[in-house]
């Protein structure tokens, strides 16, 4: 795992130092890497396409993320490939360490996102993208035991993102709204569908942020989640983040996250850190 992460970072740095680096878009317009590998904030996939690819450029990102809350630790390794300012293909591997039980849950997510219309900054229409995420549990004993109905599933979402260059206080602001059809339990880490509900529901996810300068943003995210399993209540997730983009090659996100109740353990709050390299 660690070896894979290091290989990924070395590869990204090697590629990003070459002349091929995509740099056709403005700083921060590729967002960060969300926990499922799609470009976005931390908890929410946004309409933005990862990296800085514009016109005919190709590029991508690699990212490592850790979220540490009271009773759990989530580690994510993710990579994305982007083609023009149009298509994003992503993969993410998640490990949720259940510290009190001495065991872990694992999930892989393969994502596809397509910019359907509009633009993040220019023109009249916000950037609108459609995406799918195929998810599978690579360890399924625990999800099955608590009532999950299957070990793999699809999420589909529609997202709209917009930037106002001189919004309130003449600061640059960003807003994103995502509507997702899903039956994933705890992002899918506890399987898909449950004894209480086994059909996909529409969930609303949102983000808003303000740039203090063009490389530093603060904001909030909210993610509504289904509540499919009878053994424990599932709650919505929230975060307050600071995102730093020192260059188009690297970004760092730090956040306070509130993941609510997870598998019977209440008030799971803690920190979130995500480091991304773009090329």
């Amino acid at each position: 795992m660690k070896k894979k992460m290091i290989q990924g970072l070395v590869l990204a740095l090697a590629v990003s130092s070459s002349a091929m680096a995509a740099e056709g878009r403005l700083l921060a317009t590729g967002g960060a890497t969300s926990v499922e590998g799609s470009a976005g904030g931390g908890l929410v996939p946004w309409a933005v396409i990862s990296g800085y690819t514009e016109d005919d450029e190709i590029g991508g990102t690699v990212a490592v993320t850790r979220a540490q809350v009271d009773d759990y630790r989530l580690d994510v390794t993710a990579a994305s490939f982007s083609f023009r300012n149009r298509l994003e293909v992503s993969v993410a591997s998640q490990i949720l360490n259940l510290e009190n039980l001495g065991t872990e849950l694992r999930q892989q997510t393969f994502g596809l996102k397509y910019r359907v219309a509009g633009d993040l900054i220019y023109g009249d229409l916000p950037q609108i993208s459609a995406g799918v995420q195929y998810k599978r549990n690579t360890r399924y004993d625990l999800p099955e035991a608590v009532g999950s109905q299957r070990d793999s599933d699809w999420d589909a979402y529609l997202a709209a993102s917009r930037v106002w260059l001189a919004g309130p206080f003449n600061r640059t602001w960003l807003a994103n709204v995502t509507v997702r059809a899903t039956r994933a339990n705890q992002f899918g880490l506890l399987g898909y569908g449950g004894d209480l509900n086994d059909s996909r529901e529409l969930q609303v996810e949102a983000a808003a942020g303000m740039f203090l300068n063009r490389g530093l943003a603060v904001g909030l995210e909210y993610r509504q989640k289904p509540d499919n399993l009878g053994f424990a209540e599932e709650e919505d997730a929230m975060s307050a983040f600071v995102a730093w983009f020192p260059s188009k090659n690297v970004s760092l996100v730090g956040a306070y996250v509130d993941l609510g109740s997870i598998a019977g353990a209440n008030n799971q709050t803690g920190y979130y850190l995500s480091l991304q390299a773009s090329f």
């Binding site: 403005l26 001189a166 206080f169």
Partner: protein
């Protein structure tokens, strides 16, 4: 009543015309350092642009002195300063140049660096870029 309606509509129309009803807001012009400040920002923007391998080819056959003069006028006027833009409209002046979306962004970055170098505040930078961004569709892809 009818007359009152007409005069109300007329008044409303006049007050919506930019720079007509109320005193001209020149705060952005002032924040950019007035005419001298804007001319310096434009000069630095153009130097940054011809230093940028991504977009320098657009400037090889351009009269840089004239471009500097027209761009300074345009920004001065947009910012509420006492200038009148005397150049061509954006579509006419960019037709045939083949400015790509990436080129446009590179020019934005050249201007951001120029404004940094001239100590223009973040909020003033945002205001100017917000005035220029709507021209995107009149410049790109022609």
């Amino acid at each position: 009543m009818y007359k009152f309606l007409i005069s109300s509509v007329l008044f409303a129309t006049i007050s919506l015309l930019p720079g007509q009803a109320d005193a001209r807001d020149d705060s952005l012009y002032q924040q950019l350092g007035g005419t001298a400040g804007i001319e310096q920002i434009v000069e630095d923007t153009l130097f940054n642009s011809i230093d940028d391998r991504r977009i320098r080819h657009h400037f090889t056959e351009v009269d840089m002195v004239r471009l500097h003069e027209k761009l300074s006028e345009q920004i001065c006027e947009l910012a509420g300063g006492p200038c009148v833009y005397t150049g061509d409209d954006m579509v006419k002046s960019h037709t045939g140049m083949g400015v790509t979306r990436a080129d446009f962004n590179a020019l934005v970055e050249a201007m951001q660096l120029a404004m940094d170098d001239n100590n223009v505040s973040v909020t003033a930078q945002n205001r100017l870029l917000a005035l220029l961004a709507p021209m995107h569709h009149e410049i790109v892809g022609l």
